[in-house]
């Protein structure tokens, strides 16, 4: 199998799982084995066939068809997309294990629909990752929105319905009103929407128009959750936790910031942006989002809501990296996609494990819980360290490179913003760990059937995945150099 065919195959691969799930919907064990096998083989294709080619400097490409003149559905893998594809397909496996534990432990209904939509969303994420032009990216971007909608509204309650309305309204509304306009504009100005090293807009769009076009892309990508278009993300937390973990901490939201990175690097070109200073305003919007979302997170008692706002803040790190318009900034942003993915998915896994194992959702209820669920809370600690950006976790490296990007762009205020954000994230993440381990458990009022001593973890399938991703965070600390090496392939 050549790498080029593997690219198209990888995007279509999750559809195998969809067929499998449909056929064996009545036999849960068989159904979920199929998903795991598909996930495993998908990762093997991405990491085993495509990755070596990209590492060697190749750009495996697959053209599907031309929908309209100059508008082509095509895939082409470059380092940034490679990285995103690896993260999405790799973490899908872990999340599937977790989903099995969670969905069964939580007695969720409509599991077949859940797994089908999940697989489709992964297919969409890979489509975004491997898109060769803005049009293809846009197609899969919308595909993700539509396939994740049933996941957000999974519970079918009035609350879920409202959340779904907000989700679809903001994500689709911004993408139609702004992103599509930007796409048409780009095509009209350049006659293509291809991603090309160095960008395609130089000499075609100038001055204030460049800033407006960038704004259309940045705000049109509602999945990047830049304020004021961030409200859909906390709303989406009504979904089952595996969805929040993989999709609303990794695949969906990263598809958003990935779009911003990709557009900045391959459509605008960082030289053009650095020269015209057209992205300076975006650093301020991103900085505001970073700080404001962190402050909101401090005040949230619901753990998932707190993590959601933390995600909003962390996503803007990546937008910030793009807005620096420096190589280190973009590469730091790319690296943060990976590092934050591992950190945040761990935290969400833990939140779900706490929900399944102890039926607790509010931070204030978690006193002493760490001693009953040491593995969960231990993983939570590691995940927190990664999100905060402390060694020995991978998160420290991406933050390091983002700082470097700020320095390269000589944006000293932004370095302060990054530091302040780290402090704030200590403020909203550490209390969970501190409460869990050091506060005494509340006195049970009579009917407590298990004492405060003794372990009472969630089912094994809910606990091992966060432990695995937390350890993955440590591994990434030591292998960050390889990721950096891969990303340097972006710069010709």
């Amino acid at each position: 199998m050549t790498a080029a065919t593997a690219v198209g195959l990888a995007v279509a691969w999750p559809l195998i799982a969809v067929v499998w799930i449909t056929v064996f919907s009545k036999r849960p064990n068989l159904r979920e084995t199929g998903i795991l096998l598909t996930g495993g083989s998908l990762f093997a294709i991405v990491a085993g066939v495509i990755l070596p080619e990209v590492q060697a400097g190749g750009r495996p490409r697959m053209d599907l068809l031309e929908v309209l003149p100059g508008l082509e559905l095509a895939f082409e893998v470059e380092p940034l997309g490679m990285l995103f594809g690896l993260v999405a397909s790799g973490l899908w496996i872990v999340t599937t294990f977790y989903s099995i534990g969670y969905m069964r432990g939580h007695h969720e209904e409509n599991q077949t629909r859940f797994y089908i939509c999940f697989a489709l969303a992964i297919s969409g994420a890979l489509g975004v990752a491997f898109a060769a032009n803005v049009f293809t990216l846009f197609v899969f971007y919308e595909f993700i929105t539509l396939t994740t909608y049933p996941l957000v509204t999974h519970a079918g309650t009035e609350k879920a319905r409202k959340a779904g309305r907000m989700y679809l309204g903001i994500l689709m509304g911004t993408s139609i009103a702004f992103l599509l306009l930007a796409l048409v504009w780009t095509w009209l100005a350049t006659g293509t929407t291809d991603f090309r090293p160095g960008g395609i807009l130089a000499g075609k769009v100038e001055g204030t128009q460049l800033m407006i076009l960038l704004a259309l892309y940045a705000f049109g990508t509602g999945k990047a959750a830049l304020m004021p278009f961030h409200r859909w993300l906390p709303a989406a937390m009504v979904a089952p936790t595996p969805v929040s973990a993989l999709l609303h901490a990794v695949a969906v939201v990263k598809a958003g910031v990935f779009t911003v990175l990709k557009v900045v690097f391959y459509v605008f070109g960082i030289d053009l942006l650095a020269f015209t200073d057209a992205s300076r305003w975006l650093t301020w919007v991103a900085a505001f989002t970073i700080i404001a979302a962190s402050c909101v997170a401090l005040g949230k008692d619901n753990l998932k809501a707190r993590l959601a706002y933390s995600t909003i803040s962390q996503l803007s790190y990546i937008v910030l990296g793009a807005a620096f318009a420096t190589t280190a900034g973009v590469m730091g942003g790319g690296m943060h996609i990976v590092m934050h993915a591992f950190g945040k998915i761990t935290l969400f896994f833990c939140a779900g494990a706490i929900m399944v194992g102890a039926h607790k959702t509010e931070v204030s209820e978690m006193d002493g819980l760490g001693r009953r669920m040491p593995l969960t809370f231990g993983a939570f600690l590691l995940g927190s360290l990664s999100v905060i950006g402390l060694p020995p976790m991978g998160g420290s490296w991406s933050k390091w490179f983002l700082m470097l990007g700020a320095a390269e762009a000589e944006q000293w205020v932004m370095m302060l913003v990054l530091m302040a954000s780290s402090l704030l994230s200590i403020g909203y993440l550490m209390p969970v760990v501190v409460r869990g381990f050091f506060r005494p458990a509340p006195v049970e009022d009579g009917h407590g059937d298990h004492g405060s001593s003794g372990f009472h973890e969630a089912p094994l399938l809910c606990v091992l995945p966060p432990v695995a991703t937390a350890l993955g965070g440590i591994v990434l600390f030591f292998y960050a150099g390889d990721i950096w090496q891969l990303l340097t392939g972006m710069v010709p």
Binding site: V139, I176, L181
Partner: protein
Amino acid sequence: MIDALWNLIGDDLPALQIAMPLLTATVCVIVRRPMLAWAVAMFNAWGAVVNASILLYRVWTRGTISYVEGGWPVPWGIELRIDLLNALVLLVVTSICAVVLVAVPRSIANEIPREKHYLFYATYLLCMTGLAGMTITGDAFNIFVFLEISSLSSYALISQGRTSRALTSAIQYLIMGTLGGTFILLGIGMLYMMTGTLNLVDMADQLALLGVNRTVLVAMACLGVGIGIKLAVFPLHTWLPNAYTYAPAVVTAFLAATATKVAYYVLVRFAFSVFRINLTLDGTHGGALLMTLGIAGMFAGSLVAIFQDNIKRMLAYSSVAQIGYMVVGLSLANEHGLTGGLVHVFNHAVTKCGLFLVLACVVLRMNSTRLSAFAGLGRRMPFTFAAFVLGGLSLIGVPLTVGFVSKWYLVLGALDAGLWPVAVLILLSSVLALIYIWRVVEVGYFTAPPEDADEVAEAPLSMLVSTWILIGGTLVFGVWTSLSAGVASAAARMLIGGVS
């Protein structure tokens, strides 16, 4: 044998397009048995699709076809003239006719007494005759004649609805439609007075020599208003919501996808071929006027649609908005804009006809098209409702559906003309479509049907087939655009090129 047949009728294909439905309409009246009448109509309708496809292919490969009726030479005789523009419209009209006809027997069984069925088929074919005639004729007066044939038969079709409101709606449409027809006749009369010819091509040449004078301007205004009524341009659309809501379900599907589309074609024909664009749109501020009305229609239609409880009426208002898109495309008067308008004729016909057929399925099983009837429909009639969701996505303009193709060209046209606010408005009104479609989708999937509700079966196969042909079409033509966008852009080039 085929060769012999070909030699016999090969050159008369344009005339068959009109003569066949006219003839088979009378056959329907003679045979009287409902299923036999249906078979006759089906034979005719699918034959017309084949015929229209051959004509389009010939026009595409060999250029404009001119058919002289009765051998009287142009400009004295009556000419049928088929170029890329009306070949595409003809294909749309005949295909919609044929596909809807598949669903007709099961649907009208519920709505129209059995003894009247043969008359229904006869009227349906008459309507088709009128629409096909308007589309391919090269003669101004003939346009009026065929317009009246199609209009009168559509009033009759609409009045067959189940409630008495169908009668009042038909009368409302009759009054508005007659007004429109009269304006058109006045306009044509004045043009005849000035040019002494009724042949459209000849008329255009004479007008070019003649230059502008007050009579020509008044003729233009009369035609604009008259066609505007038939096309249901905002604010002349008042007949449309009632007519669409109370007509039998299949009639709505048929008319929504054909009648207004043909009216749009006539508008384009007069604006670009007869008057020539620089006169119609620039000289009289007609472009600015049409653009304003189009945009107003886009928003008024969508906003009103959001608040409708009857989904059939909701889609009717959505049609007003979609007609607004087409009018805006025309008013941009550049290649991309006009392509957008023309391709939207094709795309909107496919989408809206599919959606109205979904409603035909719903009304058949639920006896209502109110929002409450959609409760839990996602589980009760999964195939029907999935078709609604896909059709809705196409109305919104999600990529890989036909709606996206239209929107792409329209936005491109607006940016090309340097009118970026128009581009923004086009996209914003798509977001309104998201709102009115999704409130139905939510009810279909999340609202439980009432406790005492009866079991509901999925729609009958014949209706599902024709619904899914169209809904499948929204996906196929959203990806494979050579037919729709390819012909539309070639036609737009021809029209714009003919002007400068």
